[in-house]
Symmetry: D2
Subunit: 173 residues, 4 copies
């Protein structure tokens, strides 16, 4: 509400295909594992070093979930902007555990597909991400709970596209 900023931005690659699950009332939630890496040359040894960081991204935004479901695949490079959230859960032995995730929900959420360099992907022609016809009722506040696709996952479109926050989220973030 007041005077705070909580922002995460990543450009990285998906380690696996996104996992889409649904809440009891049918809302989709997408999970992605995204890798970012850094390389540097060791000051002393001159050796080249690399460190890869893995991030868990959870997409609550219904609009972005649809995009993830249809256009995002293992290996793809994406830009995401979301918020940090640490969640408490219990492991099998009942012990408290915490997981920190990057949450894409509400207006701050952003996802930009960055063309995969692998080029192995199917390059969508007229139906690329850029034309996904995401008829923006987000901005108008209408709550078209238009089901969303089932499970048809497109081939990697590799076309690039920007998708940002949607208004029909009611889950606080």
């Amino acid at each position: 509400m007041s005077g705070y900023l909580n922002k995460v931005q990543l450009i990285g690659n998906l380690g696996t295909d996104p996992e889409i699950r649904r809440t009891q009332d049918g809302r989709p939630i997408a999970n992605m594992r995204i890798a970012t890496s850094e390389s540097w040359r060791d000051k002393n040894t001159g050796e080249k070093k690399t460190k890869t960081e893995w991030h868990t991204v959870v997409v609550f935004s219904e609009g972005l979930c649809k995009v993830v479901e249809q256009y995002v695949n293992k290996g793809d490079k994406i830009f995401i902007e979301g918020q940090l959230a640490t969640r408490k859960w219990q492991d099998q032995s009942g012990q408290d555990r915490w997981s920190t995730e990057i949450v894409l929900q509400g207006f701050d959420a952003k996802l930009i597909m960055l063309p995969s360099s692998s080029g192995s992907g199917y390059r969508a022609g007229g139906d690329g991400a850029g034309d996904y016809g995401y008829d923006d009722d987000r901005a108008s506040g209408r709550s078209s709970s238009s089901s969303s696709s089932g499970s048809t996952r497109g081939q990697s479109s590799s076309s690039g596209g920007s998708f940002s926050r949607d208004l029909d989220d009611d889950i606080p973030f």
Copy 2:
């Protein structure tokens, strides 16, 4: 819509009071001049140098305009997040000119008031920034070129507060 990012973030101080004007259909637009500075010590001379950069910020977001109108004053420090836009206009002699501004509009817009260190400001009690309860009609599609305050400018509240994207419902911000 697709594959692009255009983001500006500033933390700086207002050089003057914001200027609020209105479109013919009554929508408010706020203009602010914000200074950011940098200092460094010259590598050769050891001299300390400072450079101040002045930024023009234009607030189209109706909700943020109300906030600016009520809580933001000359000298205040704020964080803003918006987009770059270059606008063409004609000077007196009819020559084309361009001005680059930082636009706060739509969902990407964000404004956080940062408590003024001067402390000269009037510290609002129960009616602080966090309770301003404005409702914006941009996101809802309504175009109520309504009311909104006239010119009553509060004293510098110095209370700090975050105001983001135009929303009139419960979606957190």
Copy 3:
């Protein structure tokens, strides 16, 4: 090194005083717990809700550590920019655990002190944050596991100041 972005930005308040420890070779490391909050009004009940997120920030940057040590206190509001890093550790029972932290290290690290609105703080006069004149040995490759202050913690300066990346020369910051 290549094609990745891993960035976190927070504006929040410290829940406790920073904790400064030192590595065996004398380098300081600062830990801070920073809170960010969000408020929203529940769409259905109309109830006002708040959620506070706590973040663990670890400062490896020697220059920023000095700043934290001298100027940052419980309750202060700061802006930080760093990177996400997830660290594995073993709990008492030898089980693997992971913690995600925001790391301030190297050139991407940034810390801006935002004047505390509480104003309870001691306002440093001539020795304000802007004059701290620290020189960092990280960027220069020197590993002077040197000096640096012991434990003298200033009162909350509330003066505001920006401290970024490790540098001991004239490059502006």
Copy 4:
């Protein structure tokens, strides 16, 4: 010097090849024109609209200039992070003009090549951007004024790579 943030981030495409010029003392400066676009559906007419914004990016960072010179071409998509700077100049008639540019200089500067979807580019094998062997004397503060390439511009490498700030800049920013 203290308490300010001035940050611009873009993901966009180059409208033309970068232009590299040199200062009298041989330092390279690269200029790029980068486009970002937005699309939306008009609330009233339902019409699809697009607006493209053009940004002028000036690279003072010597390391990033080399990268731009070798790897960045017309049409390429890149991520850049820099600072806003408004510069005054005189037109032919001696009138004052101002231009706002995004400056990549010093530590805040960042450039990430995003694989071009066009795929028309020559895909560098072992000498791709990722292997550019930018032997990081930046971090060590050494000032290897190693000339830099002349004008050999590689074909679009499409390989992606991240390049960030260098220490050997002395031009303030």
